[in-house]
């Protein structure tokens, strides 16, 4: 532990630096180097942040789902492993909320300029809003629940919340409403122009490495908080066992 901490800190700083560098390249590609979309104009450049972040926002709920299942499995068999799983579940839920919030916000800003409306109750928008509400309720349940069962209740909620993820993904394939058709894997007319690919993939890579960075940083913070609580509890027990002379 004594030797690992400085190494982990160096790796974290290196990862942070790489994330920022890739995001700077992505920003430059999206704003300055990619030609303006003939149909949408400059507002079409929102696409380079909206789509990669929307795609990544569907990955973090699965991490939360896996960590919640691990928590439910270990909570009676190995409480220390369960605590680690719970810390990871909390971190992934928060990152899911961050990415889903950005997806909704950038989508609304684009929709107002492109469609003339902020919001439409179409299948994709509604299912993403539901996803956001589910993970917000997960975080609120953890924050406001006063019982010792809040971690278990949150893990059970997470298992059900994950059901919405495939619905979000399939919504623009099952129901063709207001939201644009899938960019990838949406049939013979899907895909994007070659000139758009560098900006798209640099931003996808940038927000992916950034997402991993904030996920692990938040996880490390939660583990640090858990260990500090354990230490404080042990000190309290030790103090209560001291016999006054």
């Amino acid at each position: 532990m004594e030797q690992r901490t400085p190494t982990l800190r160096s790796v974290a700083w290196l990862w942070f630096g790489i994330s920022v560098a890739v995001l700077v390249v992505g920003f430059r590609q999206a704003i300055f180097l990619t030609p303006t979309d003939a149909a949408q104009g400059n507002v079409g450049r929102i696409f380079y942040y909206h789509v990669p972040i929307a795609m990544l926002s569907l990955l973090f709920p699965y991490l939360n789902f896996a960590a919640s299942l691990a928590y439910l499995y270990f909570r009676k068999r190995d409480p220390l492993k369960a605590l680690t799983a719970d810390a990871f579940a909390l971190a992934s839920a928060e990152v899911a909320v961050v990415y889903t919030s950005i997806c909704l916000l950038t989508g609304m800003l684009w929709g107002r300029a492109a469609w003339g409306i902020w919001w439409a109750w179409d299948a994709r928008l509604t299912s993403v809003l539901l996803l956001w509400l589910l993970y917000m309720s997960y975080l609120m349940l953890r924050s406001f629940s006063a019982t010792g069962q809040s971690q278990t209740l949150a893990a059970v909620l997470s298992v059900f919340a994950a059901v919405d993820v495939p619905i979000v993904y399939m919504s623009i394939r099952w129901w063709r409403t207001q939201h644009p058709a899938p960019v990838f894997g949406g049939g013979p007319n899907s895909g994007m122009d070659k000139s758009m690919l560098p900006a798209f993939f640099w931003n996808l890579a940038g927000w992916a490495v950034w997402g991993i960075f904030i996920l692990l940083f938040r996880f490390a913070l939660e583990r640090r908080r858990q260990l500090a609580e354990q230490e404080a509890a042990l000190q309290a027990i030790e103090a209560s066992l001291e016999i006054p002379r």
Binding site: R45, I102, T106, L109, R112, I214, L221, R224
Partner: protein
């Protein structure tokens, strides 16, 4: 597009592009800043 046209807020198209990029950077930066602030407040196990 140039820096000047990025900060041109005369049309809704440009305003929303700027707001979208600024919002993304502020939300992500704010979240990592909040984690870092809490990190500095919670003592490590060896302290």
């Amino acid at each position: 597009m140039t820096w000047q046209s990025l900060f041109d807020v005369s049309t809704m198209e440009h305003r929303h592009l700027l707001f979208a990029y600024a919002a993304v950077l502020l939300i992500q930066g704010g979240y990592v800043g909040w984690i870092a602030w809490n990190w500095s407040r919670v003592k490590g196990p060896r302290h």
